[in-house]
């Protein structure tokens, strides 16, 4: 198909008088941009497909009921890692939620455009993208080294520190969307600022704030690097005091995937499938809530 025939066939198109080279450039750009987009989507589906293919084979009842097997042994599951991950993740969120919500509230309600608020906002954005391995190192220095041992507490704190900036950011964003007259109405009824914030502003922004917490949950659920030096891992159920290594999915996946035992690799795939699906579902739910509240 030559370009001249196209021109002749479509004389009334706006293209008609556009010079050939400009048209080629435009078409090239469109093809490349579309191609790039589909490349990225293809990679997403490639990864998900691989997880399904390799992960489903490793799923069995034992996966959810038995503890992680030792090196070279058959059988076993990842039940302790799943439960440990739950505990660490919720510990992280339990630490991060009050701090994050309060800090976000201060930025949106009290600090507003003050210099200090702008600085905190800026630092929070830096923390938001700081490498998570550095958070792990930091918690190692403040909580593992002084207390001479890995612990679930250290792991939870590390995850909490990663979750805080996410919650601060979303809380502040959502609170700033709450219209001012709502606050004024509360104040006019004689409510002090704290009551206006807790029972008017927070209530109005509830959906968005929950989304922030869910996003933070999704963010920390798959974090591996900060757990390597804090909660570490082991092959048993964690002790109720959370002292000592706490088995968790990401570190188990890391150790099992790079080990030469087929049984371990199988379990690593099953764990990856579980964790990725949970995180994707969380992210999609969070997105839905935001879409619903608008």
């Amino acid at each position: 198909m030559t370009m001249t025939t196209t021109t002749r066939e479509l004389p009334r198109q706006p293209w008609g008088r556009v010079r050939q080279s400009r048209r080629t450039a435009d078409r090239m750009m469109k093809i490349i941009a579309t191609g790039f987009t589909f490349t990225a989507i293809f990679v997403l589906f490639w990864i998900l497909g691989m997880l399904l293919v390799k992960g489903i084979g490793g799923l069995s009842v034992a996966t959810f009921t038995a503890v992680t097997p030792g090196p070279g042994t058959e059988g076993g599951g990842i039940a302790n890692a799943i439960v440990g991950s739950f505990v660490l993740t919720f510990l992280g969120i339990a630490i991060a939620t009050p701090i994050g919500v309060l800090a976000g509230t201060w930025l949106a309600e009290y600090g507003r455009r003050s210099k200090l608020a702008n600085l905190i906002r800026f630092i929070n954005d830096i923390l938001l993208s700081a490498p998570s391995i550095l958070i792990g190192l930091f918690v190692y220095v403040i909580l593992v080294e002084p207390f001479r041992g890995y612990s679930g507490w250290a792991g939870g704190v590390a995850l909490g520190i990663i979750a805080i900036p996410v919650i601060v950011r979303t809380t502040e964003d959502m609170l700033s969307l709450v219209p001012g007259p709502l606050r004024e109405a509360g104040a006019a009824l004689g409510a002090p600022p704290s009551v206006v914030i807790t029972s008017v502003t927070w209530r109005a922004a509830k959906a968005g704030m929950v989304t922030g917490i869910l996003l933070a949950l999704a963010r920390i659920a798959g974090e591996t690097a900060p757990l390597l030096f804090t909660a570490l891992n082991n092959n048993f159920w964690f002790s109720p005091t959370l002292v000592g290594g706490v088995s968790n999915l990401p570190v188990t996946i890391y150790q099992f995937a790079s080990a030469p035992y087929e049984n371990w690799q199988q379990l690593a795939w099953a764990g990856s499938l579980i964790i990725t699906i949970s995180i994707l579902v969380l992210s999609i739910v969070a997105r839905r809530i935001v879409a619903g509240s608008k």
């Binding site: 090239m28 490349t39 009290y110 490498p131 958070i135 704290s194």
Partner: protein, 324 residues
């Protein structure tokens, strides 16, 4: 309220007055939220301080040589960061070279080309790429991408470039295992794409449509609108988005640890195994003791300052955007 009325009607009972919450609660709430906000500042300062203090013995022992030396010898307690620094910078650079055009293409597609009904699912898919944990990228890289890359790119490429000047060094792999700096860069590229793409998309969407329409009005093609109107308008923020992607790429740990090959030496070829600061810390930390531990924290300290500078510049260029 009714309860209070009932109570007061009972003879002898003291009437309950509905009290406004005490002024103390107001004060406590305000101070608690202020303290939480300050904690964010304290956190960053504490991270910075802990890195410097933890790494100090290594800096004191080796001085500037810690950065310039290429020796990493646990037997003789000699540590140098240079190979890891070079590895970190080169993987991040490769990630940008591949990831930035991809991201810009995606942003243009999403804002200018995609049909309206198709925009949302595509945007969601791109953003889900960011939700996939980095360890999953690592496994995908190691078990799926690396063998394909070795068989279909590394080996044929090495055969072609062997013996050529410069290219024959940079693109020749002595042991074509698929693991290496370049592989890590490719995986990182896909990890940073969602961040750069979604910020760029937001920036492009914020450009007033009058500008776009006037360009179309004088007969510009879509490409010309992108090239001469959108890119100059959003240029600074796009650079900021790229820097943000760079910040991610520099500190990314798990995916890189899986595929970079974890070699402690420098190689002139980008297809050979290497290591990054983050991958070295992840690999050695749990077995490290004494000075090696300090050297690893000192590596973390270097990573912290490099990413800090990059992120500060990025955030200054990208005025607050809605994505994270």
């Amino acid at each position: 309220m009714t309860a209070a009325t009932d109570m007061s009607s009972i003879p002898g009972a003291t009437p309950i007055v509905r009290k406004t919450p005490k002024a103390t609660f107001d004060l406590v709430f305000r101070n608690a939220s202020f303290a939480a906000a300050l904690l964010v500042l304290v956190l960053l300062a504490a991270i910075m301080a802990s890195m410097v203090i933890g790494g100090w013995p290594a800096f004191r022992e080796f001085g500037l040589g810690f950065i310039t030396s290429s020796v990493w010898d646990t037997q003789n307690e000699q540590y140098g960061a240079w190979p890891a620094i070079v590895g970190t910078l080169s993987t991040a650079l490769i990630a940008l070279v591949i990831g930035v055009p991809l991201s810009l293409g995606i942003a243009v597609y999403l804002t200018q080309l995609a049909p309206a009904w198709f925009k949302k699912p595509v945007a969601t898919a791109i953003e889900l790429l960011a939700a996939v944990p980095s360890i999953i990228y690592g496994m995908w890289g190691l078990f799926v991408f690396v063998p394909l890359f070795a068989a279909y790119v590394q080996i044929p490429l090495s055969n072609i470039v062997e013996g050529m000047p410069i290219v024959g060094t940079v693109l020749y792999s002595r042991s074509p295992s698929g693991l290496g700096i370049f592989t890590a860069g490719i995986i990182l590229a896909f990890m940073i794409v969602p961040f750069i793409a979604s910020i760029t998309r937001d920036m492009l969407e914020q450009i007033p449509s009058v500008l776009r329409e006037s360009a179309y009005g004088i007969g510009a093609t879509t490409w010309e609108v992108v090239r001469h109107v959108l890119v100059p308008q959003a240029g600074v923020s796009i650079i900021g988005a790229v820097m943000l992607g760079l910040g991610r790429a520099l500190g990314e740990t798990m995916a890189v640890t899986f595929v970079v090959g974890n070699a402690n030496r420098l190689s002139a070829s980008i297809l050979d195994p290497g290591s990054t600061i983050a991958s070295r810390i992840a690999n050695e930390f749990n077995e490290a003791m004494g000075l090696q531990l300090n050297a690893l924290i000192a590596l973390g300290c270097i990573l912290f300052f490099v990413t800090f500078v990059v992120l500060v510049i990025a955030r200054l260029l990208v005025a607050r955007v809605k994505r994270y």
